[in-house]
């Protein structure tokens, strides 16, 4: 059953709708509420997500569930070393019956695209997808096709088993709004999951069919418009800039966040505020989205790497050191 979602909604309605969607997702992705929240923020903001985690943590299930709950078109591509750009975007075929050339659209023509193990494909294929992500338009044999909004790519990477992979270049990583690290669920959550599977309350195979749709593409776009309307004080804009600029000046980082990072931080902080039930951003919203927005845009220096520092630990330091915004 699809809930009727009006074209425009009040902030309270928007928060309630987002809460319902999150609750549905948390039913299948047990013990990962932070992950579902971050994916929701990216989806509403209209950004792409890079998810890093070992296999078996429910990345595909999350994408399928999102498609089901939001009644979005969903496609999945398993990236392999022999994947060609045309396997992603589509190509032209000669139709012998009509005697004419016909465009065969690739899996990128969708709302929600799961690019599984994106770093397994060569750079040329990665670049084709990343171009689509940026332009939201596909050109095949000179003919351009606009992708219907929303268009969100959920790309996954495996942090282990790096042999034979093609790491994404920094410039291309910057096109992802979020990089989300998905980790194992806690002991209690995993025990709860096991009990649910053993009791038959949860199927042990990937199955999002039990979920009920809560919104559609128009609903997601309406949520995005509501997020845009959230108040962002000037002092918070200044705070975001100080935070991002601090990453550029940090001695342990050879690459800091660019202007795209500042914009992403502001937009996602607004969505985070909306999901928290507010129509204004507070400094905590910025701090909450800082790690997923910035972690893939920063590059650690060799010295810091040898010293055992990580981007995460440096971000924590920065969030403690950069003075909270002043009113």
């Amino acid at each position: 059953m699809t809930t009727d979602v009006p074209g425009e909604m009040t902030p309270e309605q928007a928060t309630a709708l987002a809460g319902r969607i999150e609750a549905q997702l948390n039913q299948v992705l047990i013990g990962q509420p932070a992950i579902t929240r971050q994916v929701m923020i990216a989806l509403i903001t209209g950004g792409h997500v890079l998810i890093e985690g070992v296999p078996g943590l429910g990345k595909t299930l999350l994408a399928r569930s999102l498609a089901r709950v939001l009644e979005l078109d969903f496609q999945r591509i398993q990236f392999t070393p022999d994947l060609m750009p045309s396997d992603v975007t589509g190509h032209v075929l000669f139709d012998s019956q009509t005697g004419d050339f016909r465009v065969r659209k690739g899996p990128a023509f969708t709302n929600l695209l799961l690019a599984d193990e994106i770093n397994r494909a060569p750079a040329k294929t990665q670049a084709a997808l990343l171009e689509v992500m940026q332009e939201r338009r596909i050109t095949i044999e000179g003919e351009s096709f606009d992708l219907a909004p929303p268009f969100v790519v959920l790309a996954t990477q495996n942090p282990l088993d790096q042999e034979g992979t093609y790491p994404l270049p920094e410039a291309e990583l910057d096109r992802f709004l979020f990089k989300i690290l998905i980790d194992y669920p806690s002991h209690e959550d995993e025990a709860r999951m096991m009990e649910m599977v053993l009791d038959g309350r949860l199927p042990d195979s990937l199955d999002a069919a039990q979920l009920t749709p809560e919104a559609n593409a128009e609903g997601i776009l309406a949520l995005g418009r509501q997020a845009n309307a959230v108040i962002l004080d000037r002092a918070l804009v200044d705070y975001i800039l100080r935070l991002v600029r601090a990453t550029r000046d940090h001695p342990s980082l050879v690459q800091g966040g660019g202007p795209r990072a500042s914009i992403a931080l502001a937009r996602t902080a607004k969505t985070q505020a909306l999901l928290a039930g507010r129509d204004f951003v507070i400094p905590d919203d910025v701090k909450q989205v800082a790690a997923p927005v910035l972690r893939h845009r920063l590059r650690l220096g060799v010295d810091a790497d040898i010293e055992g520092q990580t981007v995460e630990s440096l971000l924590e330091q920065l969030l403690e050191q950069v003075e909270a915004p002043r009113q």
Binding site: I282, P283, D284, Q321, E323, A324, Q327
Partner: protein, 527 residues
């Protein structure tokens, strides 16, 4: 024993030549020396390294490293006897340890532990048996040129030890099959017990080479220094000549004996009885240097023959008197006393040594190397202190007493106690009278945070937001009435500050009224 059986030819050498002699000692006796090292150190090392691997702690190995002067004593005892073709076994050395190993050990393990001349000076205690107040004077004599090369030797062997350890570990790592997935970064961050144990073992294997080498070269430097100071080479050489002459007989012997007595170092003009030559040299090795034995000190010990020789040398027939005059520029006659302290220091550091170092194209001033060594040590200590400060929990953001320090700003608000008005209520009324609700709430929040921090100091940072403060105090004072008040205040504040929707005046006055009741017990001080 005749002197030809001596294992080394005594001669005044340059420091580098003496070190070279030491390496020859090591190459000749490396098996026995390594065995001595193993017997004395294998068990203590196994115990300490086992404990270190189990706990992944560096302290046990630091202890083993600190005890190096102790482990080096049996090696020196071995070399000093092997020089006379006497090769004591490890067990004999173990039994005799109280006789040779204890004198001066406490000093070497405490305030003299960082002496760069450690190996060189061990002989002062162990071989000469010098004790008490005489030690400092004796060390000062021993460190005269060319003896101060010992520091260079110590730092060189230390560098060799570390380079060999790293090389051995790297070599082993390159031989580990790739399936073990050994990464350099992982290696330095998370070592398993096995890796920890392996690194320790590599270090021990390297020590098995470098320590006997270090003791041998230091011993050779020590022998060389005493040869320079006491003229052992002359004594032994003249003794040999004396023996030959005694066998040859004749009047020439008398003249030679007279000349022997005139040598700067008094020697026994009469040849020692057969079989006593070895004990003579041993006694030389094991006796302290007395000033009347010094090459530089001409005080007569056996007055008559020496005086005769001096008279002979001073006579016109032996050394004709000649008077010469030459002219020099006034500048060249200026005394060095006019130099500034840094010029003095530079001269001391870069001065050429009298052992021929100045002619050596590879000459590196010894003072410079010793200075660099100490500089590296100081840098290491600074780095360790910085790491301790960085990694010890709770050190950052805390005062000298270990208590958290309130940042100047928290949540963007000035939280210095002196920035708050003396009469909070009056100041609040003034702000409300002006219609500035935001300023009134800010005042209340600042006073609330400062008072709470005074009551219960928590490690807040400059980046802490209002919600961070609330969460921190919720964890600390969960259920306390002040937490409900702070939550309400922060709610009102965030709506006013970030949503630009000021609370009404009445709500602010209610918050002030609640604070009036809550504040006195909190302002009373920490609990």
């Amino acid at each position: 024993m005749d002197l030809n059986r001596l294992n080394a030819r005594l001669a005044p050498r340059s420091s580098w030549q003496a070190v070279d002699l030491g390496t020859r000692f090591y190459r000749r006796w490396w098996r026995q020396a390594s065995l001595v090292w193993l017997v004395f150190t294998a068990v203590p090392f196994a115990l300490l390294a086992g404990y270190a691997a189990a706990t992944r702690s560096v302290w046990p190995l630091l202890l083993f490293w600190w005890l190096k002067p102790l482990w080096e004593r049996p090696l020196l005892a071995f070399y000093s006897r092997a020089l006379f073709d006497d090769y004591p076994g490890p067990l004999a050395l173990l039994r005799a340890f109280p006789q040779y190993g204890l004198n001066g050990l406490a000093a070497q393990l405490t305030w003299r532990r960082f002496s760069p001349s450690r190996g060189f000076l061990t002989g002062v205690w162990q071989l000469e048996g010098t004790r008490g107040a005489q030690v400092s004077g004796r060390i000062a004599v021993m460190l005269r040129p060319p003896g101060q090369r010992a520091g260079t030797l110590t730092f060189t062997v230390l560098g060799l030890e570390h380079a060999m350890t790293v090389a051995l570990v790297v070599l082993a790592m390159t031989l580990v099959p790739w399936q073990f997935n050994l990464e350099w970064s992982v290696w330095f961050q998370e070592q398993s017990h096995l890796q920890w144990g392996f690194v320790n073992l590599a270090w021990y294997l390297v020590l098995m080479v470098t320590e006997p080498l270090y003791v041998a070269t230091s011993f050779a430097l020590y022998l060389n220094q005493r040869t320079w100071l006491e003229g052992w080479d002359l004594q032994l050489g003249l003794t040999r000549i004396g023996e030959r002459r005694r066998r040859a007989g004749g009047a020439a012997l008398l003249v030679l004996l007279a000349l022997c007595g005139a040598a700067p170092h008094p020697v026994e003009a009469q040849a020692p009885p057969p079989g006593q030559a070895e004990s003579r040299l041993k006694s030389l090795l094991h006796q302290p240097c007395r000033s009347d034995f010094s090459r530089d000190n001409g005080t007569a010990h056996q007055a008559d023959p020496k005086q005769q020789a001096i008279d002979l040398l001073a006579s016109d027939t032996f050394m004709p008197f000649e008077e010469r005059q030459d002219r020099r520029l006034r500048e060249s006659l200026r005394d060095d006393d006019g130099d500034s302290w840094w010029q003095d220091l530079l001269r001391r550091l870069l001065d050429q040594e009298p052992d021929g170092g100045g002619r050596d194209p590879l000459h590196v001033p010894d003072g410079l190397i010793t200075g660099l060594g100490y500089l590296l040590l100081a840098l290491l200590l600074v780095v360790i202190l910085m790491m301790v400060r960085r990694y010890l929990p709770g050190v950052g953001g805390r005062g000298p007493d270990g208590k958290p320090v309130m940042p100047v700003r928290v949540a963007g608000l000035d939280t210095r106690a002196e920035s708050l008005p003396a009469d909070l209520e009056q100041a609040l009324d003034q702000e409300l009278a002006r219609g500035d609700v935001r300023a009134a709430l800010a005042l209340l929040l600042r006073d609330g945070l400062v008072t709470l921090f005074h009551y219960r100091p928590l490690p807040l940072t400059a980046g802490a937001t209002e919600q961070d403060c609330l969460r921190a105090y919720q964890r600390e004072l969960d259920g306390a009435p002040v937490i409900a008040w702070l939550s309400a205040l922060i709610n009102a504040w965030t709506r006013t500050a970030w949503a630009h929707r000021p609370s009404d005046e009445q709500a602010v006055r209610e918050l002030m009224a609640r604070w009036r009741a809550l504040r006195p017990p909190l302002a009373g001080g920490p609990r």
